[in-house]
């Protein structure tokens, strides 16, 4: 080997930090595989003595967590699809279509970013109630359909589309909808993947809004169902940990699969400020 040895202290710190970061998640998985009661022994165990899948079996049979899983999937996928279309179209229009008032509206949207979601939550609940959407999955999804952040993300990316490309298509007589479908969407696909990853994860992980909207436990999404589970089964540490794994795992897998796109989104938000 040539070159300098890697500095030891730096790597000790990196590994130590990594272990501390992953330890809670590691213990979550490990405890979920322990027989009942083993996660509450003294001194605490880190690895199961024998591995058992009984808590996962109980979750999917007796406790019907598959229903909450399906609800979460419907909410996250549904909101993501709508958000791609709605924010994609708006972001492109703000970047590339020339019309009066465009920049004023965009600035207005950016200004709305300072308003925290909680401010509108109470009337939104009453509005959805009057529309019959309380205690429905659609009611959970609605706040995820359009987002200023999503529009901003797409707009910044769409700015790089050359005007010549669009004008050439217009000269050929293509309508704006057709240009969007055949030329713009393919160019935007990387940022749409980013937007999809963001929307999916934020909907999958969201807690406060589904907690407010849903009252029937058959409609619960995973985080709400999990909060209920820990209320009823607080002593069954291993069972609750299995529920936590079922909730976290899809989010982690989606992140790992779309990591590059997701990181691009974080950076895009950070660079602009």
């Amino acid at each position: 080997m040539s070159g300098k040895r890697p500095p030891i202290l730096l790597h000790v710190l990196l590994v130590l930090g990594g272990l501390l970061t992953l330890a809670p998640l590691f213990w979550m998985v490990s405890a979920s595989l322990m027989p009942p009661g083993e996660a509450t022994t003294f001194p605490p165990r880190i690895l199961p003595r024998v591995v058992t899948l009984e808590h996962y079996a109980a979750l999917f049979t007796r406790l019907d967590i598959a229903r909450a899983f399906t609800n979460s999937a419907i909410v996250a996928v549904g909101a993501t699809l709508v958000s791609l279309l709605v924010n994609g179209m708006a972001g492109y229009a703000f970047a590339k279509l020339r019309f009066a008032g465009r920049d004023k509206v965009f600035q207005g949207l950016l200004a709305a970013l300072v308003i925290p979601a909680q401010v509108g939550m109470l009337p939104l609940f009453l509005l959805l109630k009057s529309m019959g959407l309380v205690n429905t999955l659609l009611g959970v999804m609605i706040p995820g359909f359009a987002s200023v952040f999503g529009i901003f993300l797409v707009r910044q990316y769409a700015l790089s589309i050359p005007d010549d490309l669009l004008d050439a298509a217009r000269l050929d007589g293509a309508g704006e909808m057709r240009i969007f479908r055949t030329i713009v969407l393919p160019v935007l696909s990387p940022i749409l993947v980013t937007l999809a990853a963001f929307t999916f994860l934020s909907m999958w992980n969201d807690f406060m809004w589904p907690l407010i909207v849903l009252s029937d436990d058959r409609k619960y999404t995973l985080p709400v169902a999990l909060a209920g589970l820990v209320g009823e089964h607080v002593q069954d540490t291993e069972l609750v940990m299995a529920g936590a794994v079922v909730t976290v795992l899809p989010a982690l897998l989606v992140f790992l699969a779309l990591q590059r796109a997701y990181v691009r989104g974080v950076m895009a938000g950070g660079v602009k400020g």
Binding site: K4, L14, G18, L25, F99, P116, V119, I151, V224, M267
Partner: protein
Amino acid sequence: MNTEVQQTRAGWLFLLPALALIGVFFVVPVIAGLVLSFTDFDLYAIGDPANARFVGFDNYQAVLANPLFWKALTNTLYFVVVGGPLSVLVSLAAALLVHSKRAKWPGFFRTVYFTPVVTTLVAVAIVWRYLDHPKYGLVNALLNRIGLPSVDWLGDPHWSMPAIVILAVWKNFGYNMLIFIAGLANIPDEQYEAAQLDGAGWWGRFRHVTLPWLGPTFVFVAVITMLGNFQIFAEPYVMTQGGPLQSTTTVVLMMYEEGFRWWRMGLAASIAFILFLIMLAGTWIQMRLTRERPA
């Protein structure tokens, strides 16, 4: 040219779905929230809105006279003032480690440190609730191992806030770390080389090159971290239900309880607007503080 007309029409058509959704489900509720905060809207009004009456600033007065609100605000400010800077420091340290030119596998460590960010808050808050168990929890086992006494993290009002701060820092530091890494990547190598020629050591280069160049990044990170901390809800809801002795009740948790548990929606709306004003003031102060410093 008629393409101008076409583009105008297409432009508004493309914006329509987004603007309609944001208008109906965000702008209108925000304005309605302001109106709501001046009424005594409660359980009876949910049955029939005619039961709600305008009460002027009564809700605001009631909130400001309620000791629980001040307790909740103090707790929330604890997250902002203690949790925020701590989180930013951990993020910066992690970014410096991962971004170091001599670090092996930076991509791997970056992913590892980022992992908690994408986990489900409710699930990991529950995990930490068990990790913080006074007898069976791994946190105390670790403390005992290095010779420190056990702590009743979630049962002792003095330790419940630190316990939630630790969860929040663990969960969120990876996000700001990424933003710091992006900021670090923008610093030209020549800056470090020049500092090195001037005889600056590690600390000198950090102080005179890294920190000034990260200035704008700091502003952004500080503001979004602060706004996030003002809105803390799920952590105390899941870990402590605001206890023990209301030591972890936050403003948003109080708003949730008032509005959606006791259905005092007028009162809850006034809490939301007070929080909004405090957040605006906080952002303004933060901008001022960071602008004064020469970047």
